[in-house]
Amino acid sequence: MNPFEHLRIAFDALLANKIRAFLTMLGVIIGVASVIMLVAIGEGAQTYIRKELMGIGTNLLIIVPGKTETTGMGRMPSGIQKITIADLRALEKRATLLNGLSAVVVSNAPVKYQNRLRNVQIIGTDQNFEQVRNLHAEIGSFISKADVDAQRRVAVIGRTVRKELFGEANPLGRTVKIGETKFRVIGIMESKGVTLGMDIDDHVFIPVETAQEIFDQDGLTNILTQAINENTIERAKDQIKAIMMQRHAGEEDFTIISQQAMLSTMQTILTTFTYVLGGIASISLLVGGIGIMNIMLVSVRERTREIGLRKAIGASQRDILLQFVIESVTLSVIGGIIGILFGAGVAYGAKAAFPVLPVDVSAWSVALAFTFAFFVGAFFGIYPAMKAARLNPIEALRYE
């Protein structure tokens, strides 16, 4: 008997009970849709973070005080020798594989202009910051070497700070107060928006030594630098390590974080996150499968006489088995298709509503959800179908 006939029988049976068929499918629809949606969100987050990290420069290296074993962004703050501008000077002089070094001191302080006040992250840095971090002043100019050397009280403000403090007025040449100290605004940064949860536009940049002075710090929060190219990242790290250890009495009391390491750490975290989400969603697909099995068992019982009759007129066990398995697979596959369309619809709807969230329905999640739906139907259909196939035709025909 050709398989097309089995398919026709399955469709006839499902169409005879449309509401029940739909409700049974609903379990699979919800399961598949949530797999598609959650994986889309997970993958979207991954794409987003990757893009953000790429944005901070591929060859970026960050030297932070304290030794941490794990790669990534964690750090231990206290009890170790500080990283200083002297360290930076030594690296500048001796390291050959680095392209620019920038000192960074980070602190928080209220910034005040006339009667407006805003708490902002203050970044003390130097003229190399623009190049190393790939962030530039859009209007006016960034901090110069002369500003740093002379410990001038000049500030470059971010977009958000400008808007909050000045509104539409031109801030160039105006004086703001950071803490109790007056600074002259010399530039406005280009807009970069939110990166890794930090609003780059909500910063104020001042010369590094000025920052050390007003915040009373002699160390640096970190040193930013760049390897000459991607292939020299590891060697550049070794070089930094050697120079720094020599200066720190042989102690490796600092950590060199590379953008690559952050990337791979984030990637690992987010991949796990995606799998976990997908796994949770798969459970609902499994529940959908149990729903199919349940309804198929009811259906086999209801159609006992039909099964007896079909056997009497020439259906073999195999024919009956196929009839019911195809019926349950049809349920799960149609449910799967609707679920994919629904899940993708919601994912792209979310993208349209919140453009920041780069959700993307990946081909592999669609293929996986579909295959999974297919096998759920086959797996949960086989037991009821076997029950049907093994019915004794005489007893089945007598069944009331």
Partner: protein, 237 residues
């Protein structure tokens, strides 16, 4: 081949075991069914006549003994082969008509042809011809629930004839019908037998037994009598 009986049973027994109790439903039954016969199987309830019909129709297998179909032993056939035999050689009519409500009358009649491997168009054309033969040519597109009991049983008979079976088996075909429609079914059987269909009918209905050419009486799983109805009896009835 032409000499061999269509069906030959030798010393067939059937035993059902329920828990510790053994029921010997059929004891040493030996019969032959020849082409063109019209056999009535009668006997009290529990005499084993339905079991015998099921064994003859390959819906059930004997506990011991031999079953030859056109001279070929079939007791060791697989499920698929038995299904094939039921499909090609036999047609069944039941007391409750067992039509599928979600299919039209024509689709019900065409059902055995699905398992025979015929295409849909061919099936429905044949089904229509069969329905015409049982007098229901105009009802092909109706659903079973729209027909009377007598009409439904005729649809079931048309379905039983779908693959030109060698034997048509009927188990109490008039049991659910009033006497008038019962008579219609009886005359339809007469007509089919006259056209060459072999019939084996299990019945309580004396009228059916009267119209059969041969009457087998079972009692307690044994063959009590096997007698040919004389022409005189047939015409006299």
């Amino acid at each position: 081949m032409s000499d061999a009986p269509l069906i030959q049973l030798d010393d067939v027994t059937k035993v059902f075991v329920t828990g510790a109790i053994r029921y010997e439903v059929l004891k040493d039954i030996s019969i032959e069914v020849r082409r063109g016969e019209y056999i009535a199987l009668i006997g009290a309830s529990g005499s084993g006549k339905s079991t015998l019909l099921n064994i003859l129709g390959c819906l059930d297998v004997p506990t011991s003994g031999h079953y030859r179909l056109e001279g070929e032993e079939i007791s060791a056939k697989s499920d698929t082969e038995m299904a094939h035999i039921r499909n090609r050689f036999f047609g069944f009519v039941f007391q409750s008509f067992n039509l599928l409500g979600r299919y039209t009358v024509a689709e019900n009649v065409a059902l055995p042809m699905v398992y025979h491997g015929l295409g849909r168009r061919e099936r429905l054309d044949k089904a229509k011809a069969l329905l015409t033969r049982v007098g229901l040519g105009e009802f092909t597109g109706h659903y079973p629930s729209e027909l009377s009991g007598g009409m439904q049983q005729r649809v079931a008979i048309a379905r039983a004839l779908a693959n030109n079976p060698a034997v048509l088996f009927a188990d109490e075909p008039t049991g659910n019908l009033d006497s008038k429609t019962g008579t219609e079914i009886i005359s339809l059987f007469e007509q089919l037998n006259a056209e060459g269909t072999t019939l084996v009918v299990v019945t309580h209905d004396a009228r059916v037994a009267q119209h059969a050419r041969r009457v087998l009486t079972l009692a307690d799983g044994r063959m009590l009598t096997d007698k040919q109805n004389s022409i005189a009896e047939l015409t006299g009835a």
